[in-house]
């Protein structure tokens, strides 16, 4: 295989480690982990990146695309440096998620599924994170959860990320 190295050696080592969790012959079980690792490194999942993941795991590329398109936290288009996903499901809406959404949209001057002109922020609408007691809740780049996002805390967060 002489394909160009799309991912760093560190990322490849992580993917290798993930495959050891599954029985021999079931490497493809690591596809979600591998796509997550790839996205963390690349910011989003291009066809080239997915093809590379497919090759690492010995999967047909189409099988990798299917997985990547099925799960909402994979980004198949470039996103801003910070992707903010805000949960707007009913429990969160009862405790200020709509106000948080309005604030973020106004402050960033974008709607859901849009990216600011400077490429800093993308705003997404999320479904229940399983953290409704902390409403409103949002995720920064999928992995950092921010709880009780009142107006003051949103202001602070945006200032920190700028």
């Amino acid at each position: 295989m002489n394909a160009p190295m799309i991912l760093s050696p560190e990322a490849l080592a992580k993917i290798d480690k993930a495959t050891t969790k599954y029985p021999p012959g079931q490497k493809r079980s690591a596809v979600m982990a591998a796509l997550t690792i790839a996205q963390d490194e690349k910011g989003w999942l291009s066809t080239e990146t997915m093809d590379f993941v497919a090759q690492c795991l010995g999967m047909p590329p189409i099988a990798v695309y299917e997985v990547a398109t099925f799960y909402s936290m994979y980004d198949l288009q470039p996103v801003g440096k910070y992707k903010i996903s805000l949960c707007t499901n009913l429990p969160c809406a009862l405790s200020g998620a709509n106000a948080a959404a309005d604030y973020l949209k106004k402050k960033l001057a974008i709607d859901f599924n849009e990216t600011t002109g400077d490429g800093q922020f993308t705003l997404k609408q999320g479904e229940c994170f399983g953290a409704c007691g902390d409403a409103p809740v949002l995720l920064v780049n999928n992995k950092r959860m921010c709880s009780f996002m009142t107006r003051e805390k949103l202001e602070k967060l945006l200032a920190e990320l700028k």
Partner: protein, 431 residues
């Protein structure tokens, strides 16, 4: 944070947690891993553990409430090949956030419960499928698992016995449907999370086609206590047919949203009081007592109900996952239903026509009612569409989309009618 308070009643899983004492040493100081030690040192026969579970009347905490001991007894005993145990930590049912607290504050209770469950069912390998959105929980479980391996509670020849159990964490990445146990299995196999036709059930054809049992995080976390204290004792903490304690996630318009572990059968009014009562002293209007997939009930019915499987069923809803969504007088029920309908429409995996098309219909019709374009016939149409989904699909997401619609219209019909007739809301909308 949401469970770190003293307002539980006879807690088992959430007892004595302060947010920092999640490590293996802390867990063992609380008596942790003594159930696993007991099982292995006394060589307790697996059937005896299953029997204790049956006596305990522990019912699955993931939503369906299936008796755990009975489920375990479905695993083929004579099968000598690989069998799997799966912990379902893909908590994404709106209103439910208990497994998150169990994982981040008491992760070893899940690991110990899984080891004992695996022993009882002859499973040699287990996976804990963690909801992708709670990444810190996945990382916490990874660290806890390393601790358990290093201490010899997970791995080969556990505590010098001939019992070996390999355990791994696996994470999701944003798909509610993967909480459904067969979708979860497909997801674990590296595929799209699409629910499977049943039968065959996972106990005969599960992960990689092998016998598999899927249990919820909270279900498994109850197991060590039952093994140590006996099924009778667990049963006596709750109600007949509803043994033990249950963690209720209380959210919405209460002063202190959070997780409250209380004996099953605790009056709803007591739970509401533990959660600090209604926020801002507003009037309590409605409650969905078991996660968003269960029917909504008006306040007066809830206030006369106890929190156990049978009582909530008698009141017209279901205990489900224990996600208790509290709504006050400012909530427009049409708008509330609209958000839920959108959710099921979004999350339908699309393989059954009644669910794929029906959830779209429900969403569009509720949407036009909310926006003043509804017609009088729309209410019958909604009920009709809901009836055509329920019971006609591969998985229970279809029912989950249908049940709220029917209950919202049954109990709050006048609000829907007002929207249709006056093209406006009966209540001021919430922020």
């Amino acid at each position: 944070m949401t469970c770190l308070h003293g307002r539980h009643i006879n807690p088992i899983i959430l007892a004595g947690l302060d947010g920092n004492n999640w490590c293996i040493g802390d867990y063992m100081r609380r008596g942790g891993y003594s159930a696993l030690k007991k099982v292995l040192s006394e060589k307790i026969p697996p059937e005896q553990i299953v029997n204790e579970l049956k006596k305990s009347a522990l019912r699955g905490r993931g939503g369906a409430g299936f008796p755990t001991g009975l489920k375990w007894s479905f695993m083929p005993k004579s099968f000598t090949g690989e069998k799997y145990l799966i912990c379902n930590s893909d908590e994404g049912e709106p209103g439910t956030f208990k497994d998150r607290d169990i994982m981040r504050y008491n992760p070893h209770s899940v690991i110990e419960g899984m080891a004992i469950a695996a022993y009882a069912m002859g499973a040699k390998t287990g996976y804990n499928y963690v909801h992708g959105e709670v990444w810190d929980c996945y990382e916490r479980m990874e660290v806890a698992l390393e601790e358990a391996r290093a201490a010899g509670f997970v791995g080969d020849n556990i505590l010098g016995s001939d019992f070996s159990f390999q355990l791994y964490n696996h994470h999701g990445y944003g798909a509610y449907i993967c909480g459904e146990e067969t979708a979860l299995l497909d997801s674990l196999e590296g595929k799209k999370g699409m629910p499977r036709f049943k039968p065959p059930f996972p106990a005969s054809y599960g992960l990689y086609g092998k016998p598999t049992t899927v249990n919820n995080t909270e279900t498994l976390a109850c197991v060590p206590w039952i093994v140590l204290n006996g099924g009778e004792k667990f049963l006596s903490m709750g109600r007949p047919n509803s043994g033990g304690t249950k963690i209720f996630s209380v959210c919405g318009h209460v002063n202190q949203p959070g997780n409250y572990e209380v004996p099953l059968g605790t009056p709803f009014a007591k739970l509401l009081e533990l959660a600090g009562g209604m926020r801002g002293g507003k009037k309590f209007k409605a409650c969905i007592p078991g996660g968003s997939s269960m029917p909504v009930l008006p306040a007066h019915i809830m206030l006369a109900t106890d929190m156990d499987y049978d009582s909530i069923a008698k009141a017209g809803s279901m205990l489900g996952s224990g996600g208790v969504i509290i709504m006050d007088e400012t909530v427009c029920m049409v708008k509330a239903l609209l958000r839920l309908s959108y959710f099921y429409f979004e999350e339908s995996c699309g393989q059954c026509t009644p669910c794929r098309e029906g959830t779209g219909w429900l969403y569009r019709v509720v949407n036009r009612i909310e926006h003043g374009q509804g017609k009088q016939e729309d209410l019958d149409l909604l009920v009709n569409v809901a009836d055509n989904i329920a019971g006609r699909t591969i998985c229970a997401l279809g029912d989950a989309a249908a049940l709220p619609v029917k209950s919202f219209i049954t109990h709050f019909r006048e609000e829907f009618e007002h929207h249709i007739e006056s093209k406006q809301c009966l209540v001021p909308t919430y922020a």
